[in-house]
């Protein structure tokens, strides 16, 4: 019995479409990364252990509170009583809104409490105190 000789199939992977694949990957990463929009105030965040991740950056709005009591939203300074108007509009346009409070660890509680009240008036009830990770001891 004679064995047939295998036909000479070339076993090379075609590399000509490689750039296309990689460009696709590149575009995917460029589209999915959300760039930081606002620079905020210089704050040193407090540390906590039992932290949770924010669900989505798209449904998050940041409020910065410096240790001198300045309140900044989207790089504009606000008085405590004006926070409700800004947040109310944001809440109205995005019902899933989570407010991320980036307050300095030396901030006074009267400002934090004032923001609590403003957020309650604006009906933006999901709040997240932004913290750094503390290693459990």
């Amino acid at each position: 019995m004679k064995f047939k000789r295998k036909s000479g199939v070339e076993s090379k992977i075609s590399t000509s479409s490689m750039p296309d694949i990689i460009f696709m990957l590149l575009i995917f990463f460029m589209v999915t990364t959300v760039l930081r929009e606002y620079s905020g105030l210089p704050v040193s965040l407090p540390k906590a252990e039992r932290i949770e991740k924010l669900e989505s950056k798209r449904h998050t709005s940041d409020i910065w509170v410096s240790k001198d009591g300045l309140i900044s939203i989207e790089d504009k300074l606000f008085n405590n009583d004006d926070v409700r108007h800004v947040m109310y509009e944001k809440r109205a346009s995005d019902p899933q809104l989570t407010v991320s409070l980036k307050a300095d660890q030396a901030a006074r509680m009267e400002i934090i409490s004032g923001i609590h009240n403003e957020l309650r008036k604006a009906d933006a009830l999901k709040l997240n105190y932004s913290t750094k990770v503390k290693a459990p001891n």
């Binding site: 990463f29 906590a48 252990e49 989570t98 009240n117 709040l127 997240n128």
Partner: protein
């Protein structure tokens, strides 16, 4: 003088290096984008005008003074003992609501630490009282 004949050049761009260039771009973008995930302590504020009357037995007051001292149910406690103490109280009464009340001059990091300890003690019913 003899003029040399030019070599016939092909006008094709070499495609072999294309993948390398694209890879380089990809690696560059991957390295330069910092994914700063926001992390923190989550809390749901009560809606406006939603104050409830709660039986005094079910409230555990946690006070933060202006100097950063913490009082739990009237007694001073160390911050690191707070979660253990709250856990003990929760064992006795599972309907317990921890009410955190801070002095208006109290520092935010003490408040965060208190909240952290309460979360550590798995206290789910936390009430934030207004400052005094």
């Amino acid at each position: 003088m003899a003029i040399r004949e030019r070599k016939a050049r092909t006008g094709a761009i070499p495609e072999g290096g294309m993948a390398d260039i694209a890879f380089l771009l990809l690696v560059f973008f991957l390295v330069t984008t910092t994914i700063d995930m926001d992390k923190g302590l989550g809390i749901i504020l009560p809606a406006e005008g939603q104050e409830l009357e709660i039986n005094k037995k079910n409230i555990l007051n946690c006070l933060i003074s202006s100097s950063g001292a913490v009082l739990l149910g009237g007694e001073p406690v160390e911050l690191k003992d707070l979660s253990r103490r709250v856990q003990e109280e929760l064992k006795e009464n599972d309907k317990l609501i921890v009410s955190v009340k801070a002095h208006e001059k109290a520092q935010y990091d003490v408040y965060i630490e208190v909240l952290d300890q309460l979360k550590l003690a798995k206290a789910t019913r936390i009430s934030i009282a207004e400052t005094e």
